[in-house]
Structures are given as structure tokens and as C-alpha cells.
């Protein structure tokens, strides 16, 4: 095999050194009956030419190669990815490096993580950021766990407008611990604030919100923050990082922990992963923060450098008492986000956010003007995504339109009950052109007429 340099002569040399005559002699500790000479029925070995042929044919069966125009969002967004991000993250010294436990030969990784942490702090308006987490959902789950470590109470309140997949992950993470997860109900994307007021009490560790929420709406976060604070609960937000280009961060309203999905920041759709969970909190909670953290320091000669720090919180030191079981971060996707934020800069992050806002509003207006039975499900302000109520089943619309090459959005009935059957969640990023939006509008118009 071409990945193994040892030749048969090398192996002979090794056998000689070890004083054995065959490989089997090295396996004397292994019970014979466990050593299998049965075939493992897997394909291969294939040559590179054969692999390329096979993988190209598999790739061709997927939407991007079928040139399907997509307005799907619901947690994964088709944003612009500057070409030079790929150049940087595919650089071997980043791609094939290990966790930076030996700082003297990992300054490249460590400095980029420090820069990443700084950028996340600036964007979210919070004091400290960790080196990243698996994805938006697990980052939110870890935030709920962290709040529970800080408050030591027994409940978490989670808004019904949070991405339902995230809610499931939070529940999965908390199922073994004695913490009850209660949902603040919503209808058509509007949270029931009265029920929220009833649910919140002195046993709540934290209230969890999404901003803009799963339906794309921007709700009255200041009011929710005040109510949560009145009972001493922490405020956790899962945010869209691009929206923070124009929207005030929940930090300004008192958020204690801000997490989110970093995929919009220069990371391709990738069928859902690898993505990036970002995580920032107030400085007073830094020692309860999960995951890895990089800090600046100096060497013996006083030169500036970076190391992994606060490691006494981590699993390799504290074992079952660690702040989390995580022993990796998403270093490479965090690097992509770092390069993305640096590339866009102060002007770019605002410009990309404004384009999303303008294009989604243009699309919403155009779609609603098809006929009077198409309307937004609520009148809350929205950023780049919005939910429409249609006169017919959203699933049927999606299936029909996809045949002609357009995915008009995601059906909300996939996430909620039957009353959402006619609701379609549409995402419009800066990448969608006016022409593409026109195709969406005319496609939907035609499809609805057909389905009537």
C-alpha cells in the first residue's frame, strides 16, 4: 500500500531487531480465538482513478451538481465564502497539525485561536470566548450546562422559537442530570410571554433564546432579559453572527452567554458539517466555561507568545470533575471564521448583513404580492429568513418546485405539528440575485396555481 513505507527488507530488519521470525510472535498476548482470518467484506482496495470515478458519480447525484437553486436555511446558510479562506485552511501546516499542547511548535494555531477569540468577543460584545465547539447546537447545550453549574438550580427554560434541533440536543445533553427543561410555548413564531412569566421562578438556572429566532424574527429581547433577571436566571442567546453586523448584540441587554452556529462565517454548507459552535460569556464566568481557551503570555526572553490556558478546568486534569468532556475544538473551522471576519472587516460585516436584510425583504414582499393568501406568519421584524403561510401544503410546493430546479425553502411541518403544514421558511442571503429571487417568485406562483 502506498501509505506504508516499510518494504519487506525493512520488515526483516525489524524482525531481527525484535528477535522474532514472524508477525504472529508479536501477538502472543492475544487469545488465538480472537484473531480472525475471516474476510471483512468491504470494497477495495481501489486505485485513485477508480476512487475519483466513484466519488464523482456520487457527488453528481447531489443538489449542487444538479444546479438546483436553493432558498433553504433553517440553521445552515449559503453565504459568500471568500476564495482565500480555502487557501489558508488547506495549508498543510494547519490542516495536518495536532492540538497545540506543545506551544513552542504550535504558535501558528495558538495565535489564530487568540485572534478568533478576540473577534468573537468584539462581535458578540462579551468579554471572553473559548476556542470553539462542535456546532451551534452543542454550544447551546454546553451553555445550559454551564449556567446550571453556576446557578446550581434545577430548571432551564427554553424558548419555543429556538431551532427545534437545538432544543433536542439541549435535552439530550441534560437528560442524565437532574435538570428539567421547560419550553416557553410559541404560536406562529410569537412567544407566549404570559406563560413565560408563569414558568419563571427562583429555580431556573437560565432562559435560552435565539436571535433572530428560528422563524427569522427579531423579538423583544430586552423585555425577556428583564424578566429573566428579575428571578436571578442567566440569559443565554444563540445568535446569527451575520445579523450582529447590524443588530445590537444581546450582550447589550444583559446576555450572560452568547453561542451560535459559526457556519455562516466562511464555512461551506457541507451537508451539515463540520460546522463551528462559537461560545462567549462574561468574564466572571470564565472558569466555568467549557472547552479550550488560548491566552497570551511571554517566553523566558520576554517575547510575546500564546499557550492553552485555564487547563485545570479540563478533562485531562480534572477527569470526572471537569467543566466538560470536550478535548478538541473545531480549530480548522474556527480558523475559517477568523479569516472570514478579518476579510470582511468593519465595513464588510455590515454590508453583508444589509444585503441579506434588503434581499430577504425584497423577496418577502414579492412573494406576498403573488396573491392575498400568501402572507408572513407574523408581523415581527426579520433579518434574512422569514416564514410564509401558503394556501397549500409547503411540502407539496417544495416537492413540485424541486423538480423544476428550485428549493423554495424548508417546510415548517418537518419541525412542528400539523398546524404548520402550509408554512414555508425561506432564507435569502447576499448570494441570491434579483434574477434568482424572480425565479423563486414565478416558480411559486406557478406551483400554487397547479396545486389549487
Amino acid at each position: 500500500m502506498k501509505y506504508i513505507p516499510n518494504t519487506s527488507r525493512d520488515k526483516e530488519k525489524i524482525y531481527k531487531k525484535l528477535g522474532v521470525s514472524s508477525f504472529d510472535e508479536l501477538l502472543e498476548d492475544i487469545p488465538k480465538e480472537l484473531i480472525s482470518d475471516k474476510r471483512i467484506d468491504i470494497p477495495g482496495p481501489l486505485s485513485e482513478i477508480e476512487i475519483e470515478r466513484k466519488l464523482e458519480s456520487l457527488s453528481a447525484q447531489n443538489a449542487p451538481e444538479k444546479k438546483i437553486l436553493s432558498f433553504a436555511g433553517a440553521g445552515a446558510y449559503d453565504h459568500y465564502v471568500p476564495a482565500h479562506i480555502e487557501t489558508i485552511i488547506s495549508r498543510s501546516e494547519f490542516l495536518t497539525a495536532y492540538t497545540p499542547y506543545q506551544p513552542e511548535i504550535s504558535q501558528g494555531t495558538l495565535q489564530t485561536i487568540y485572534e478568533y477569540q478576540s473577534l468573537i468577543c468584539e462581535l458578540t460584545g462579551l468579554d471572553v470566548s473559548n476556542a470553539s465547539m462542535y456546532d451551534g447546537a452543542s454550544a447551546l447545550a454546553e451553555a445550559a450546562l454551564m449556567a446550571s453549574r453556576i446557578k446550581k438550580r434545577n430548571k432551564i427554560l427554553i424558548a419555543g422559537t429556538v431551532n427545534p434541533s437545538y432544543v433536542k440536543v439541549v435535552k439530550t445533553y441534560l437528560q442524565g442530570l437532574e435538570i428539567e427543561v421547560l419550553t416557553i410555548p410559541q404560536k406562529n413564531g410569537i412567544l407566549d410571554i404570559d406563560v413565560f412569566k408563569e414558568l419563571i421562578d427562583e429555580n431556573v438556572n437560565a432562559c435560552v433564546f435565539q436571535y433572530p429566532d428560528f422563524f427569522g424574527s427579531i423579538q423583544d429581547i430586552d423585555e425577556y432579559c428583564e424578566i429573566a433577571s428579575s428571578k436571578g436566571a442567566l440569559k443565554i442567546f444563540s445568535v446569527d453572527p451575520i445579523a450582529l453586523g447590524i443588530l445590537e448584540s444581546p450582550a447589550a441587554f444583559g446576555a450572560d452567554i452568547i453561542t451560535g452556529e459559526g457556519q455562516p462565517m466562511g464555512i461551506p454548507l457541507s451537508f451539515g458539517g463540520p460546522y463551528l459552535g462559537f461560545f462567549a460569556c462574561r468574564r466572571e464566568y470564565v472558569r466555568q466555561m467549557p472547552g479550550r481557551v488560548v491566552g497570551a503570555t511571554t517566553d523566558k526572553e520576554g517575547r510575546h507568545g500564546f499557550v492553552l490556558t485555564l487547563q485545570t478546568r479540563e478533562q485531562h486534569i480534572r477527569r470526572e470533575k471537569a467543566t466538560s468532556n470536550i478535548c478538541s475544538n473545531q480549530a480548522l473551522t474556527a480558523l475559517a471564521a477568523c479569516v472570514y471576519l478579518v476579510s470582511l472587516g468593519k465595513e464588510g460585516i455590515r454590508e453583508v448583513a444589509l444585503q441579506c436584510l434588503s434581499k430577504s425583504h425584497y423577496a418577502a414582499k414579492s412573494l406576498c404580492s403573488i396573491n392575498s393568501e400568501i402572507e408572513l406568519i407574523n408581523d415581527k421584524p426579520f433579518f434574512k429568513e422569514f416564514a410564509l403561510s401558503l394556501p397549500v401544503s409547503a411540502r407539496d410546493v417544495i416537492e413540485r418546485m424541486s423538480i423544476s430546479g428550485i428549493i423554495p425553502g424548508v417546510a415548517l411541518s418537518s419541525f412542528f405539528d400539523k398546524s404548520y403544514e402550509n408554512m414555508l421558511l425561506v432564507a435569502v442571503t447576499e448570494k441570491r440575485s434579483r434574477e434568482e429571487i424572480s425565479s423563486l417568485v414565478s416558480g411559486l406562483d406557478k406551483t400554487i396555481k397547479q396545486l389549487y
Binding site: 525493512d10 498543510s92 494555531t109 451537508f271 478533562q315 480548522l332
Partner: protein, 488 residues
């Protein structure tokens, strides 16, 4: 080629008006933001992100990359981390447009290629491990462990049994106890025997009616195969408990040993270790989990199922522990592992383990006269030395690790497993040539000699890098985690 040693941060290149991006002219009417968003929700002060041009960005980050050690530039004998070569065809295939630009909510008929890869990769991992079902959802080995312990918990809950203890050997990875605790289980630690294996007498004492499972690494972190594994398995199963295998060391057994045959009920895989996907400076990895049939109902949803020639998502698993990921896991990592398995095939699997084991034993035999070898026996794909001989001269294992950098090598895993004093845990992997191993041996011998003759040179290493030893205490005491806070 001279290396620019500037430690400038990207923020220091920022000048108003520089741009590192380009966007098309807005082709729809611009929305008056104040009309659609209440004023109090608008950002008052723009995020002060740096303003830098594309060439400066490239030069900054490429220069930073040159301050990193990596598998493509050198040898990483890191025990339990399996830093093997990452084949380039894996990268090329994972960047195909149909994978990279695929939205996770594409309709099933528009993601058949992706689903087929996931289905077939799960199938290959099942066959390699002797398990009945595999989920690809966990994003890392540690998340795989969490998934596994949650499955254990859910299994007993479903059976109506109250079992809340997990037994873990003292040689285990720190993630094992941390994951078990996160799943709400109590951890009981069991000592290792003088032979460097799990002490079966101690295990017997630890097993109680509350024992849900034993969580072990096989071969263990000392590099030895647990020769009593069948006995261990029957002891646990007789008690109604389950057996979990941390698959960190799977590289030692590919193709000829199966965890399923040893009695394991659950195993996690580290695609970034045994299956050659890049570590990426610490992530993303992927940590699939395989289980025996009676546990398959508890796997996370969605599962990928096949009906005829069609692949689809199955969300209907009532006993499932739920979800661990926003979507389906780290798909592009899965593509790389899939390509790797296709390129090695069954025959290749055996060659991998055989050469990993040969290389490890070769290093061990070559170094045992210079460093203390606490357990002198044949090893699997890794082994543990102790720097205790050198410590007597005032040279710590940490010093040896730093000195190795001067000789051009990444240090081994150090101070782990915790049960070996001044531990150096070495794993060469199958992708290193005997010439590289000889160079490494030579460097290790020189350091052993230096520790005798001129210990100061080792104690003050590294000497050849742009930076010397960093003050970690200062980093923790005077926390500086954010450039913007530093500026204030």
C-alpha cells in the same frame, strides 16, 4: 528561506478603508433599516473588526502556518493520538462540489450520493468492529463517548434497572470519566495490575448490582492488549452490565481483531485517528459509535436506512437518546474516511496494523536501554517509557519533550497515562519509514546522553525555535484572552 519572526497580530495591520472582500452591487432596492427594525435593536457601535487587504491576510496567515509543526512536515510520535499521514486524495474528494455545497435540508432525492456514503461508511465500520449498527453523528471521540454512555443509561432505564455506576481503569483517557459524569453516571476507578493490564481481582471487587458498564481502551493506553478480555467480558455480562470500548487505539487491530468478538457492546471510532482524516490543529474530527443489536434502538436519530436502491433518513426511533448534532455529524470528515477505506480495502487494513505494531516494537526495543521501560513486554501499536532515570539528573520528561523539538521532532504524549511516573507515550504509526524511526531513535539517545553530560542544555530547551519556553503560570494568572480587552 528566511522566516519572518514578526509576532504582529492581524489587528495591527488594520487601517481604515482597507478591504479583504468583494460583494456584488446590491441589485434590489435598499431597505431603510430604521423602518424595519426598531431603533433600540440596531447596533449602536459597529463591531471594530480589523480592515485588512487580501494580500496582507494571506501573508499573515501563511506566515503563521509556518510556525506550526504538522504531519506533512515531520514525525509526530504521539501516543493514543495516531498522527498518521493524511492522504491527499481524501482532501480532493471531500472538496467535490456535490458534497461541499450540499445543503443539509436538500430533499432526499437530491442527496442520494451523500446518503449512500454515510450508509456505506457505517456498514464498513460495523464490519471492521464486529458491531451491528453504527451512528456517524458524534463530532469527536469525546462526543462519541458521551453518546455511548447515554445509550448505556437509556438501555437500563428502558429495562427498568437502576444502574448508575461506570467502572473505568486508572489508565483511561480523561475524557472517559468526564463523559460518564456528563451522562449522569458515577465513576468508579479500578487499578491496573503489575503486568500493565486491568487488574481482574480489583475489577471483581468493583462490580456491584449498580454497575452499568465497564469502559476500557483495548489495547490499553500502555500499549498492551487486555489478555483477559474474554474473562472481563463474561464477568460484566454475568452481572448484567455492558462493556464499552474506547476506540482510540483501534489502529492496532484493524482487519484482524474485532471488538465485537471480544464481547464489547459499544465502541466509538475516531475517524481522525485510525481512518486518516486530518486533525486540523485539534478539530474537526468525528466519533462514530457502533453498538450490538440490542442497543441499536437507542442510537441518535436520524438513522440512514436503505430501501432497494434508495437511501433515506429514519427519524422514527422511539427509544433513541435523541440528537447530538444540529444536523447529521461532520459529513466532510466522513467522506475522507470513506475514501481512505476504499483506498486501503481489507488487505490494507491488516497491513496498517501490522506495520503500526512492528514500528512500535522496533522503537521500544531500540530505546529501552536508554530510558526506563516500566513494562518490558511486547507491545501493540504504542508503548510507554519513563523519564525517571533522567529525572534523577534533574531532567524532567517535559525537558526531554522540549529538547526533541530542537532535533526536529514533535514530542510524544507526556505525563500520560497517569500511572507511569514521568511518562513518555510513543506511537509511531504505520506511515513512518524505518529511516525516520532511526533518526528519532538517534535523537532520543542523544538527549539521554545530554541528560548525563550537559543537563542544562536539555532543561532550557528548546533553543532553535523563534520562541523559548512560555510562561504558562503567567498566562493563567494574568488572563489575556482577547485583544480588544487588552487595548482598553
Amino acid at each position: 528561506m528566511s522566516e519572518k519572526n514578526s509576532s504582529k497580530l492581524i489587528f495591527e495591520y488594520s487601517r481604515e478603508g482597507k478591504k479583504g472582500y468583494s460583494l456584488p452591487q446590491l441589485d434590489v432596492p435598499e431597505v431603510d433599516i430604521e423602518k424595519v427594525v426598531p431603533e433600540r435593536l440596531l447596533r449602536k457601535k459597529p463591531a471594530q473588526l480589523p480592515e485588512v487587504s487580501e494580500p496582507e491576510i494571506i501573508r499573515h496567515f501563511i506566515n503563521l502556518s509556518r510556525k506550526n509543526y504538522s504531519v506533512d512536515t515531520g514525525f509526530y510520535p504521539l501516543g493514543s493520538c495516531t498522527m498518521k499521514y493524511n492522504p491527499k486524495i481524501n482532501e480532493k474528494m471531500s472538496s467535490l462540489k456535490g458534497f461541499k455545497e450540499l445543503h443539509p435540508f436538500a430533499l432526499e432525492e437530491n442527496c442520494q450520493g451523500a446518503l449512500q456514503i454515510m450508509y456505506e461508511l457505517s456498514d464498513m465500520l460495523s464490519k471492521i468492529s464486529g458491531m451491528d449498527a453504527v451512528t456517524l453523528q458524534p463530532s469527536a471521540g469525546a462526543q462519541g463517548e458521551l453518546c455511548g454512555t447515554m445509550i448505556i443509561r437509556a438501555y437500563f432505564k428502558d429495562k427498568g434497572e437502576k444502574r448508575d455506576e461506570i467502572i473505568i481503569p486508572d489508565s483511561a483517557h480523561g475524557t472517559n470519566p468526564a463523559s460518564a459524569a456528563l451522562a449522569g453516571m458515577k465513576v468508579r476507578t479500578v487499578k491496573s495490575s503489575e503486568k500493565g493490564e486491568l487488574d481482574i481481582d480489583e475489577l471483581e471487587k468493583a462490580i456491584t448490582p449498580a454497575t452499568a458498564a465497564l469502559m476500557i481502551t483495548n489495547p490499553n493506553t500502555l500499549g498492551f492488549f487486555e489478555s483477559g478480555i474474554q474473562k472481563i467480558s463474561s464477568m460484566l455480562h454475568k452481572n448484567g452490565s455492558l462493556l464499552y470500548m474506547d476506540g482510540a487505539n483501534l489502529n492496532a487491530m484493524l482487519g484482524f481483531l474485532k471488538p465485537g468478538d471480544m464481547g464489547f457492546d459499544i465502541v466509538h471510532f475516531n475517524l481522525h485517528k485510525s481512518f486518516s482524516t486530518p486533525h486540523g490543529c485539534g478539530g474537526p474530527g468525528a466519533g462514530p459509535v457502533g453498538v450490538k443489536k440490542e442497543l441499536s434502538d437507542f442510537l441518535p436519530v436520524p438513522r440512514i436506512v436503505r430501501k432497494g436502491n434508495h437511501f433515506h433518513f429514519d427519524w422514527e426511533q422511539k427509544k433513541s437518546i435523541g440528537r447530538l448534532h444540529s444536523f447529521y455529524g461532520n459529513f466532510l470528515v466522513m467522506v475522507r474516511a470513506y475514501v481512505y477505506l476504499l483506498s486501503v480495502g481489507e488487505k490494507g487494513l491488516r497491513e496498517i496494523s501490522e506495520n503500526a505494531i512492528l514500528n512500535a516494537n522496533y522503537l521500544k526495543e531500540s530505546l529501552k536501554n536508554y530510558y526506563e521501560l516500566p513494562y518490558d513486554r511486547k507491545c501493540m501499536h504504542e508503548f510507554v517509557l519513563s523519564g525517571s532515570k533522567q529525572k534523577k539528573k534533574g531532567v524532567k520528561t517535559l525537558d526531554i519533550a522540549k529538547r526533541l523539538m530542537d532535533y526536529g521532532f514533535h514530542p510524544p504524549t507526556i505525563y500520560f497515562p497517569l500511572i507511569v511516573n514521568e511518562a513518555l507515550m510513543i506511537e509511531p504509526t504505520e506511515t513512518e519509514s524505518i529511516e525516520t524511526l532511526d533518526e528519532f531513535i538517534e535523537a532520543m539517545i542523544k538527549i539521554a546522553e545530554e541528560s548525563e553530560t550537559e543537563p542544562e542544555i536539555v532543561k532550557n530547551a528548546p533553543h532553535s525555535l523563534s520562541i523559548s519556553r512560555l510562561d504558562e503560570v503567567k498566562a493563567a494568572k494574568q488572563l489575556d484572552l482577547n485583544y480588544y480587552a487588552r487595548k482598553q
